[in-house]
Amino acid sequence: MHPVRKQRLIFVLFIITAASTAVALMSYALRQNINLFFAPSQIVAGEAPVGVRIRVGGMVVEDSFKRAADSLDASFVLTDGPGQTRVYFSGILPDLFAEGEAAVAAGVLAEDGSFMASEVLAKHDENYTPPEVADAMKKAHEANQ
């Protein structure tokens, strides 16, 4: 390779390396801020700030959903395995919100560890199945238990 071209090639590689290093250090320093939400185990461990607007995300625990008979007040428990957080919300939930599925709630964490949400979003997973297959899988799962 011609020496001038080689020098330019080294220059190009240097730019890419320098930019990658800068961005890697930056995103490492800001890693908590880049996360869209806190996991319930982080809230239990006291890592989430109280009284400011944050988001919490996890799986909606089966049979934890409660809806008031006379209003839109609802509550449910989010879990990521080790931790659990009860979320209170008043309003209309997204169509895909369901127990056993993931959800992200935005709101304020109270002193007692419960979460007052002003917005609830459903989080979809990466799996796509036709209804018949989903039914068959559900039946097979129930038969196993």
């Binding site: 939400f37 990466e126 209804p131």
Partner: protein, 246 residues
């Protein structure tokens, strides 16, 4: 190796590329038309609906191929920019310039279809999570390259400035790709994986695969058409271009 270098240097001649690529166009157009046509009808009409999302999942047949090519197209643009910087190859500069608006359009399509799908699925059009934000940064990178191309009177300075921006921006591509694994995001992780089977039923996945291949053919077709237009514009005063119109 010697023949590769010969081919590489011949590719640098806009005239040679113009004459060669003219013969590829009908094949690319036919492939894109057939693949996208079949994929769309198969995906939108015959593929089964999703158990949870119903029919709204069908936006995947546009969203995922557009996002794929928005990312792959950025590498095309950055590699062309690097070749232009190192070898001072005029054709590479023209390819880089032609790739920018095409990539910007595909990125916009991916963001727009994502927002349309997000409303019924998540309950919101937009959320500032790592995947969506880094995709927006990609759109701005494409727009930045387009703006730099028009910011200089000298073609060489414009090419050098936008190649530098394109190269710095390559950092963003692995970030977009891995953002759903590295951080908590609302966007779901990848359905199509490099290793392992896709987490999607084969009846839904096959039309998606056709659409992705079709988008690749479409991308190649539009990129070559854009580049040919750029060649004609820049070489309009040369004898071979003038003889084309005679």
């Amino acid at each position: 190796m010697a023949s590769f270098y010969q081919w590489f240097h011949r590719m640098g001649s806009p005239r040679w590329f113009y004459e060669k690529s003219g013969r590829w166009l009908p094949w690319l157009a036919a492939a894109a038309f057939l693949l996208i046509g079949t994929g769309l009808i198969w995906g939108l009409v015959f593929a089964p609906e999703d158990a949870r999302q119903g029919n709204s999942f069908r936006i995947i047949y546009i969203h995922v191929p557009a996002a794929f090519l928005a990312l792959a197209g950025y590498y095309v643009m950055a590699v062309a920019g690097a070749i232009g910087l190192i070898w001072k190859m005029k054709l590479a500069d023209m390819v880089m310039k032609s790739a920018a608006p095409l990539g910007a359009a595909l990125t916009f399509v991916a963001l727009f279809t994502g927002a349309v799908w997000g409303k019924p699925t998540w309950g919101t059009y937009w959320v500032w999570d790592a995947r969506i934000t880094s995709m927006l940064v990609l759109l701005f990178l494409y727009l930045g390259v387009m703006a730099l191309q028009h910011a200089y009177n000298s073609l060489d300075t414009a090419a050098r400035a936008s190649a530098l921006l394109a190269l710095v921006g390559t950092v963003n591509i692995p970030i977009i790709y891995k953002s759903v694994d590295w951080w908590y995001t609302l966007h779901q992780p990848a359905t199509i994986k490099l290793t392992g089977a896709p987490s999607m039923h084969p009846d839904m996945f096959r039309p998606l695969l056709l659409m992705i291949l079709g988008f690749y053919a479409f991308y190649a077709l539009v990129l070559i058409l854009n580049t040919r237009a750029e060649i004609l514009h820049r070489e309009r005063r040369t004898g071979w271009v003038q003889s084309l119109s005679e």
